[in-house]
């Protein structure tokens, strides 16, 4: 049985393998494609794209008021298109190439800008059995969903133009560097931080950026006084379910192979999600007296987030523990902490993605099982905490700087009148009747 190195492990082993290969120019001729792996990664890529459109778009769209549903859905769709082109221009290159001796710990280089050098016979050293075309598109779908997640934090009150500028700049100055640190050979991966499918790069990153954005953009007009109840939780249920199904591409796809590790990631994902969904539902049933649909859906997404870094490192019992802890803590964060602190994270990007991501990243260090993945043998809570803290600090500072610059140049919010009338008709000239 051949053992494939999951590139996401970011361990010293994965890194040295990557560097060895990078040092051998003859690599292109040694590519041995595996059709099973390739078929699964083609499928995973489509599943992860489906998470953003229509999954996340509907999940968020159902939770806003009817006057803002199109504007909210539009954000996810526009981000999908924007990030696709940015990834083609320079994103893939800045994450997954060598940045040169002094810079490589922090950012990749431009050697594959415009996908230069990628061809029918190339593979990325981190995924040697699938065509590089597939690998880079799979990675693109992760780069797409991360900024799209942030839109929930400032939903119903950000100008579309400001949102587009923010996402383009955030991609360049936050996502691409952080993804390189963990997956592309940068300093977090070298330090042994384990992140199987993107708990740190995607969810902590987006969760913290969401919290900062919610605070800097400010509360919605009428927050705390007006009725801001979700307008259609059926849309939210469809969206959450598409996220759940799509997440098998995200987590099981992060094995970058059609193998047993992908299977372990799949079963872990399913168990953690169900456990977190029930944990949120039962705690809500006890505290608020009614088990709500929005509650069970929120718990499920919290569980999906939390198992993301751990999916290919823990066993199913570990997944169960991660799910229960995430369900309870995400509930506490989204329902009680938010109310106590008074910030308006409209759709709980921080409460679900930030908190769920941190729970998963830390518990990966505790629950990693070498029977599932040998790369988990050096797992430690301290190393995981280091990765979490570095990401939180960097993301918070750079996100704030970007937002303040945009605020000074073009402003972040629509006019009060536009916000009151609804962003659908005032910013996009359309509405749902």
């Amino acid at each position: 049985m051949s053992f494939k190195i999951p590139y996401r492990a970011g361990s010293a082993l994965g890194l040295s393998a990557a560097m060895m290969v990078a040092a051998a120019p003859a690599f292109a001729q040694e590519v041995k494609l595996d059709t099973g792996d390739t078929a699964w990664m083609l499928t995973s890529t489509m599943l992860v794209l489906m998470m953003t459109i229509p999954g996340l778009a509907l999940f968020y769209g159902g939770m806003v008021r009817k006057k803002n549903v199109l504007a909210t859905i539009m954000q996810s769709f526009a981000i999908t298109c924007l990030i696709t082109l940015m990834w083609f221009f320079f994103g893939y290159s800045l994450v997954f190439t060598e940045g040169g001796e002094s810079l490589n710990a922090y950012i990749g280089g431009f050697s594959k800008a415009m996908l230069a050098g990628v061809g029918n016979n190339t593979a990325n050293a981190l995924a040697p059995t699938i065509p590089e075309w597939v690998f880079l598109t799979f990675q693109m779908t992760f780069a797409i969903i991360t900024p799209a997640l942030i839109t929930g934090a400032f939903a119903e009150r950000m100008k579309f133009s400001a949102m587009m500028w923010f996402m383009a700049l955030w991609m360049i100055f936050v996502y691409l560097p952080v993804a390189h640190w963990v997956w592309g050979g940068g300093f977090l991966g070298s330090a042994g931080v384990l992140d199987f499918a993107g708990g740190t790069v995607v969810h902590i990153n987006a969760g913290i950026a969401g919290l900062v954005a919610a605070i800097i953009v400010g509360k919605r007009k009428g927050h705390g006084a007006e009725n801001m109840a979700p307008h259609n939780l059926v849309l939210t249920m469809i969206g959450a379910s598409l996220l759940w199904v799509g997440w098998f591409g995200f987590n099981a796809g992060s094995a970058v192979a059609s193998n047993a590790l992908a299977g372990a990631a799949m079963v872990n994902t399913q168990i953690a999600t169900a456990a977190a969904a029930l944990a949120w539902m039962f705690i809500e049933w006890i505290v608020i007296k009614k088990p709500s649909l929005l509650g069970i859906l929120s718990g499920a997404v919290g569980g999906l987030v939390a198992i993301t870094p751990a999916a290919g490192f823990v066993n199913p019992t570990g997944a169960l523990i991660i799910g229960v802890v995430a369900g309870v803590l995400c509930y506490v964060a989204a329902v009680h902490v938010k109310k106590a602190l008074g910030y308006d994270d409209s759709l709980d990007v921080f409460g679900v993605h930030g908190v769920g991501g941190i729970v998963g990243a830390l518990l990966t260090g505790v629950l990693a099982d070498v029977a599932i993945n040998e790369l988990g043998k050096d797992a430690s809570l301290a190393t995981q905490a280091y990765g979490v803290i570095v990401t939180i600090v960097y993301t918070a500072i750079v996100t704030a700087i970007i937002l303040y610059i945009i605020k000074a140049v073009i402003g972040l919010r629509p006019t009060t009148a536009q916000e009151e009338e609804g962003l659908d008709v005032t910013l996009h000239g359309e509405s749902v009747q």
Partner: protein
């Protein structure tokens, strides 16, 4: 002629329609409306945030009938729409000055 206007619980529509058909009323107009009376509203909770919902969904039915039929119509609607719980609704009766059937040009009671 009178218009009998009744605001009822939405799930009672079929029973009200059957009761009216049984006494020879062969047409009505139904509108989805929102409102409140003694029932007031209720509260909804989303991720721990409570919202007071003061306007509840109801159906408003309007039936145009000859004056001498009004009592029977009121009786039929009250009988069919009643659950005995708060929020069953209300019936209003207003005068109707004229009626015209567009297709034939018939007027007043023959147009009903």
């Amino acid at each position: 002629m009178k218009i009998v206007m009744a605001v009822i619980k939405p799930f009672k529509l079929d029973e009200v329609r059957d009761a009216l058909t049984a006494i020879g009323v062969h047409g009505m107009t139904v509108t989805e409306v929102k409102g409140y009376g003694r029932q007031k509203g209720h509260t909804e909770i989303y991720r721990g945030t409570e919202y007071a919902v003061s306007f509840l969904p109801k159906l408003k039915i309007e039936v145009a009938v000859a004056s001498e039929q009004v009592d029977k119509v009121i009786e039929a609607i009250s009988g069919a729409a009643k659950t005995g719980q708060i929020g069953d609704g209300k019936i209003f009766v207003v005068n109707l000055e004229a009626a015209v059937r567009i297709r034939t040009g018939e007027t007043d009671t023959s147009a009903l």
